[in-house]
Subunit: 215 residues, 2 copies
DNA sequence: TAGATTGTTAATCGATTAACAATC
DNA sequence: TAGATTGTTAATCGATTAACAATC
């Protein structure tokens, strides 16, 4: 089966399509044209059609796209029809926040465990899941069919923990540590570098101030 | 002063350069060539030179780049030499996590206030800052020279709160709510859509599994 | 001076937009 | 059938990479 590679630019837009279609669906809207969706999402109709056609045609000439159908198809493309067990490594504020985020469950991400290096936290619970000491991490990953690890620890420990996770069969790392992980081919990493994001915001404020002679 | 527009692709790479240069600096390394930085960061030397040259030449032929100097220059480009007061709207887990993130302070982002709709939270403290009721939000923004608002509330309230913030003179919104804000020209918005990020990870897991016949 | 490495121009590649024939 | 709108090809635009003259 000849799979043509889809660019990450396209992938990056899929969740947003998915969100808009979900909202249209909830509003009971049955069909939508690329033209109308374009107006809603502020992207070109041409791009919408190109994006969808990377995965085969979901629409119908003269009609447009069926909202419900398209919503489900994009969900499948995004792999939301699968279930993935995940753990959180690092039970600090951010780890707790993510553990308590209920919507992930709805999308097929099942919260199985939390780990922290701090023995003070051991025994505490996040959404009914007990915080475990780091010593149990590797065994737990092996024994519980864990696909995804959410890394919410300081950057100092992150590289080493990532290695352990990989060694024990993790498939993917959602990395909030402010460091680039170096993992083997086939392990998926998605970085969320919050301070990078804040710096981009800072740049844009700064640029705007300069352009408008405010500083 | 004719400012040529810098593409967001370039801006998006600056924080990463900044991070690597900071680390080199901390290691006491004095200079680095685009070639060596390329090896470290896994981007082409050509791109590095192009990126830096968007802002004028920071290097010297035959020598390379002075780490300390380049670090500071990129910091300035990112606006990290300025101070910005910020508030957090939504004192849930994520709001608490961000409020407790000390590194922001080091980069010139000063935590001034937290707001929440839940009266139960009012009076609680995040890093010495008392949670205030939403009724006080607008007044507070006006009176305290607040540049940035961090939106960590559910999407239902986000659009309305963003409007209030804009009306009271906010410059920028760091938006964690899962909705697109519609703000006037000149107001900077940086979105952090965590579930979009998780979906991209999900896609990549799924694609890998398909390519390798695991499902 | 010779060697190294930038700054910058030119070539290539990829992504977005425009246009339109196919078709519902 | 006529009108609407997709799927898809072609044209454009922008970003990345390669190459090399300038220069420290």
């Amino acid at each position: 089966m000849e799979e043509k590679e889809i660019s990450q630019a396209v992938i990056g837009r899929l969740p947003r399509y998915f969100r808009y279609l979900g909202e249209l669906k909830d509003q009971g809207i049955e069909r939508i044209s690329s033209q109308d969706l374009s107006g809603l999402m502020k992207v070109t109709a041409s791009q919408i059609r190109q994006d969808f056609n990377n995965f085969g045609g979901f629409g119908q000439q003269g009609y447009g796209y069926n909202v419900e159908y398209l919503y489900h198809e994009i969900g499948k493309i995004l792999g939301l029809n699968r279930k993935h067990n995940f753990i959180i490594v690092g039970a600090g504020n951010l780890g707790q926040a993510l553990g308590n985020y209920l919507n992930f469950e709805r999308r097929g991400f099942i919260f199985k465990g939390v780990f922290d290096i701090d023995p003070q936290l051991a025994g505490r619970e996040i959404r009914g899941v007990k915080v475990m000491p780091m010593e149990q991490l590797e065994q737990f990953v092996r024994d519980n069919d864990i696909d995804i690890a959410v890394l919410t620890i300081p950057k100092t420990g992150a590289v080493e923990v990532a290695e352990k996770l990989v060694k024990n069969g993790i498939r993917a790392i959602w990395n909030f540590a402010h460091v680039d992980l170096n993992v083997p081919e086939g392990i998926q990493v998605e970085n969320v570098h919050l301070s990078d994001s804040l710096m981009k915001l800072s740049y844009n404020i700064s640029r705007y101030m300069k352009e408008n002679g405010e500083a």
